[in-house]
Amino acid sequence: MGTLEQTVETEEHHGPARGITRWLYTTNHKDIGTMYLWFSLIMFLLGGCMALSIRAELFQPGLQLMAPNFFNQMTTMHGLIMVFGAVMPAFVGLANWMVPLMIGAPDMALPRMNNWSFWILPFAFSMMVSTLFMEGGAPNFGWTFYAPLSTTYAPPSVTFFIFAVHMMGISSIMGAINIIATILNLRAPGMTMMKLPLFVWTWLITAFLLIAVMPVLAGVVTMMLMDIHFGTSFFNAAGGGDPVLFQHVFWFFGHPEVYIMILPAFGIVSQIIPTFARKKLFGYASMVYATASIAFLSFIVWAHHMFTVGMPLAGELFFMFSTMLIAVPTGVKVFNWVATMFRGSMTFETPMLFALAFVVLFTIGGFSGLMLAIAPADFQYHDTYFVVAHFHYVLVPGAVFSIMAGVYYWLPKWTGNMYHEGMGKLHFWLSFIGVNITFFPMHFVGLAGMPRRIPDYALQFADFNAVASVGAFIFGLSQLLLVYNVIQCIRVKRHTTAQVWEGAEGLEWTVPSPAPYHTFAQPPLVK
């Protein structure tokens, strides 16, 4: 082992190791980011297949394809896989790739722990998916796993589900600690906090949310484990406990969790819109403060998920008004994005199309969220397809579209090649049309009273459900185009410049494309 300088110098001449050990033993943020992104893509396709089996069953009333218990397993696994396997790892992958490049750091702060954070995930999800083949089937109590459905009435595989959640939690906490340490400690000289790109800011705040609430999730599944196997009565009123306690603890985790899945999306969109509008982001400081306010509010709104459990009136009112407050910082963000585009010289490449669709469709999801926030009205909407429509609008054309926007935006930087613009646009339009055909009709059947998580429905909902199922297959199949576009971009040599996009600004565009294995071994000076 040499001195510091020698180590760095020899590192610079090192390319990646050969063979499989490159991926197993790596400490490189780019390798780990790539693995996170591929893992997330696989989970996205797997969770998508489950969604399609749900939509196939709901294509017409009556039971066609599967037994109700299997339908319940599909809704549960679809939710868990998409939240913990697809969306969260995709954002962590993007953070791994881009945060060090954006702040001028040589790597993540704790590179070995970074590897550990990633490699826990494939093991955790193998265990989770294997529950499908266990006696009694996979978890069937919904991704929110309310007690007593998940305790007294759960299949035996719930024990493995609990340990899988523990492993994901360990992974997320370590990943988040790493991101915070990187951002706080590894910025290049001159990169002050208020010069940080917005993607970095949103991830800093997201990482804080992760560290604050993933342990609470660990706590709630531990209490479940104790209730199921060791005779405690946390969620059982016969022993003085309360099933509603489960919902309080779960949603204390759950509400910050949904912002964990949207704040990095805000960051990505805030990077992309200025590039293609060829203007600086409007209201940078207000964007930072809005993100922080949303994060703060996320801790005091959790019970709006449980207006119908029988809370005291004071509770209903508090959670109603605090929830509506969130519209203020979110509105600041939407208006800032619009103001950034105002009088810009805009072009509409694939990343920009996804980002624009994000702004419009996420706002629709935000408005339906505002409707759900009104406690008396929520008594009507609760547990209907209106809720399903709401959170799919914020998660699919919200979080997922932002991930796709980010992938198209940074793919040339990762591979050194331009993707095929025409194919990218085709992917966008098919996704855009498919997503709206799938989820928009769910608002109508939901308001008309169709309950969620039921494999059959009354005849009057048939037409809209058939439409939604057609849309789901359009959306699902068009994701094969994403796979095709990514692989084509890696394989077909269409060399691109370091700058890639005419209007792009920031440190990540100063390094060559593809980004070398080691970047910023000597920190750049930011003016």
């Binding site: 510091l4 550990w116 990187t182 590894l186 209490m223 104790m226 016969a238 003085g240």
Partner: protein, 294 residues
């Protein structure tokens, strides 16, 4: 802010092996727990849990040895030191939130759920389920005494728990004295104060175990004893596990002190453990107050 150059470690086998052993542990624990109460306890699962745990312990030893060697070789800059500090601080924050979940559960059942069950408040209709149930805390008689027989008695806070409070608080003092001695480079004093801290921690764990035996055998205070027993054991149990872990960490530091690993300016390993120890101490004060006394 970045200095001139930065140490990025080479490839490492530890993380993937650690993931594998976590996986073995999880599979094993799941299978083992599921087989409890059946005719045959799953031997394979128990084996997998044990092997996974042993592997993980061995890997952590190897991994930390690696880090210590790099640190001793002077490969860590001040900046790296700062990354470790941020890492440890946020890890402790995550632990705080883990305990917050259980404290939150305790406050909720005490102040809301149990009174509602007893018929208090506008929503207090749930007493129709268990007529005659009276809300009280500590909850000595549960709504369904057959399934969850409430405790006969609870732990008297002014005996073992008070003694444990004194033990743990003084251990916080001794670990600080050890830190001061380290700053002045008085090795003998460090060794003695650290040994005292470890001893206090170990005695605490012993008394805690003693308390559990009394609770189970004499007081009828068990995991099955309704919500009082559930919150009591989950809070004190996880705290006890953390004290045990902290004692092991102190032991490692003690050995490292004797091997001369630390100097007055450069001893983050020591500080990290002492932070952890203070955190465990603060949690105990919360426990003593909200679980035992109030």
């Amino acid at each position: 802010m970045s200095t001139q150059s930065y140490y990025v470690p080479h490839q490492s086998r530890w993380p993937i092996l650690a993931s594998l052993s976590l996986f073995l542990m999880a599979i094993g624990a799941g299978g083992y727990i599921n087989s409890l109460g059946k005719e045959e306890v799953s031997g394979f699962s128990g084996f997998s849990l044990l092997i996974g745990a042993l592997f993980l312990a061995a890997i952590l030893v190897g991994w930390f040895r690696n880090v210590i060697k790099e640190s001793m070789a002077g490969m860590y800059s001040d900046q790296m030191d700062k990354s470790f500090r941020w890492g440890m601080s946020w890890f402790i924050f995550s632990e705080v939130m883990f305990f917050a979940a259980f404290f939150g559960a305790l406050f909720y059942v005490r102040n809301l759920a149990v009174p509602w069950l007893g018929g208090e408040g506008e929503k207090g209709i749930s007493n129709m389920l268990w007529q005659g149930f009276e809300a009280q805390w500590p909850l000595m008689s549960t709504p369904d005494m057959e399934t969850f027989p409430g405790p006969k008695e609870i732990i008297d806070p002014w005996h073992i728990p008070l003694l444990n409070t004194v033990l743990l608080l003084s251990s916080s003092v001794t670990v600080t004295l050890a830190h001061h001695a380290l700053r002045k480079n008085k090795r003998d004093a460090i060794v003695i104060w650290l040994a005292a801290t470890i001893l206090l921690g170990a005695v605490f764990v012993y008394f805690q175990a003693e308390e559990y035996v009394v609770a189970y055998e004499e007081l009828g205070l068990t995991l099955h004893a309704g919500i009082y027993g559930a919150t009591f054991f989950i809070l004190t149990g996880f705290h006890g596990l953390h004290v045990t872990l902290g004692t092991f960490m102190l032991l490692v530091i003690w050995v490292r002190v004797m091997r001369g690993h630390f100097n007055p300016d450069h001893h983050f390993g020591f500080e990290a453990v002492s932070w952890y120890w203070h955190f465990v101490d603060v949690v105990w004060v919360g426990l003593f107050l909200f679980v035992y006394i109030l």
